[in-house]
């Protein structure tokens, strides 16, 4: 029986080296490409008619759009409107990656790689910080000074705020990564039990069926959480406190 963690292994499909750096096309990159192709297919086919009265498919696309648009509007306000394409892309990318990763047997979930989630979270973190700095200049650092706190506590509070701010990319990336790893590992472990227990394997099999439903929920939920936290960080940067 293969290790439950074997599903997370990176396999190089097309070896590629540029200036001594390894940028091989791997199974992870393949699934990113599949994810992107699926999103494009979903949107292009869904919106091909652009009908006034939408069909089911078009309505799904519109619902995704409006869901994220409303979320961005509610959490970050109206001036965050121009960052909508990025948030929307982020949500769809993670959502489709998580869902496609749920494909049994040959599915690979690249969001279960800390390198990927941390890269996305860092990009969000750096981007949001730069937006805040560009908008508010030096005043941006007021974000680390809680209003109405006693002056004596200020040094401590500033340190706490700073640490909590700097830990954002870590919590954002680890949350998604850990959820994906835990779910997929659990599925694999119970999948091993099905084979090992023979006729009694129906019990873990039933459990896997239920767990798959739960994992589908987690896949959607984590995409949502990632997107809404990005919106909240954006709101902090745009409006400070």
């Amino acid at each position: 029986m293969a290790s439950p963690l074997a599903q997370f292994e990176i396999k190089t499909l097309i070896p590629l080296q540029v200036a001594g750096y390894d940028i091989s096309f791997t199974n992870s990159a393949l699934f990113m490409a599949i994810t992107v192709a699926a999103i494009m297919f979903f949107m292009i086919v869904g919106m091909r008619k652009g009908a006034l009265v939408p069909g089911r498919w078009q309505l799904s696309v519109e619902m995704c759009y409006e869901f994220i648009a409303n979320m961005l509007h509610d959490t970050a306000g109206r001036d965050a409107r121009k960052y909508f394409p990025f948030i929307f892309t982020l949500f769809m990318f993670i959502l489709f990656a998580n869902l496609i990763g749920m494909t049994p047997y040959f599915g690979f979930t690249f969001t279960s790689h800390i390198a990927v989630t941390f890269a996305m979270a860092s990009f969000v973190f750096i981007g949001v910080t730069m937006i805040g700095l560009a908008k508010h200049g030096f005043k941006f650092f007021k974000l680390f000074v809680p209003t109405g706190a006693p002056l004596a506590l200020m040094p401590l509070l500033v340190v706490i705020e700073l640490v909590s701010y700097l830990s954002r990319p870590i919590s954002l990336s680890v949350r998604l990564f850990a959820n994906m790893v835990a779910g997929h590992t659990m599925l694999k472990v119970f999948g091993g039990f099905v084979v090992a227990l023979g006729a009694l394997g129906v019990v873990p099999f039933a459990f896997i069926v239920a767990l798959t439903g739960l994992e589908l929920l987690v896949a959607c939920l984590q995409a949502y959480v990632f997107a809404i936290l990005t919106c909240m960080y954006l709101n902090d940067a745009l409006h400070l406190h």
């Binding site: 990159a29 949107m43 006034l52 519109e62 990927v116």
Partner: protein
């Protein structure tokens, strides 16, 4: 854990940025504007339809009001026509009645004049006849042949007294 092998970091991050950039460009420049356009067109259509509906409603309301006004005007006109006609007929009837009354009055007066003339004539004849009869009676009773003129005077005086008595 294969995720913690530093060798897998760079190829994944590189392809992540390339592929994410791709889908970002697609969504930002093609998919999202298209959805926005469709949603805006739908919103515009809905609001224009609502506007049209409300303007039609206002039109219908105006038509109802003008219809009611026309009805009211017609009713007033009909009432005034009826009143005028009734007045006209009434005055016609009154005029005719007055005319008739006047005509009857003159006829009555003429008749009365005629009657009184006839009466006077009859009385005169009676007087003459009475004088003759009196003379005849006196002659046959006493044998006196009185002058016709005197008898007539006496009868006439007696007649006047009776007539005065009767009238007075």
């Amino acid at each position: 854990m294969p995720q913690l092998d530093p060798a897998v970091f760079l190829p994944q991050i590189f392809w992540l940025f390339v592929i994410f950039g791709l889908i970002y460009l697609f969504i930002a420049h093609s998919a999202a504007p298209k959805i926005t356009q469709v949603l805006e067109r739908r919103q515009a259509r809905i609001s224009s339809d609502l506007e049209e509906a409300s303007s039609l409603q206002a039109e219908a309301e105006a038509a109802r009001v003008s219809h009611e006004k026309a009805l009211e005007e017609a009713r007033i006109k009909a009432t005034s026509t009826i009143t005028a006609k009734r007045e006209a007929i009434k005055s016609d009837v009154e005029a005719e009645y007055a005319q008739l009354t006047e005509k009857l009055g003159t006829e009555l007066a003429a008749a009365e004049v005629k009657i009184s003339a006839a009466k006077d004539k009859a009385l005169d004849e009676i007087r003459v006849m009475s004088a003759d009869i009196c003379k005849e009676i006196i002659q046959s009773v006493s044998g006196l042949d009185l002058d016709k003129k005197i008898v007539a005077e006496r009868v006439s005086a007696k007649f006047e007294a009776v007539k005065d008595n009767a009238n007075g």
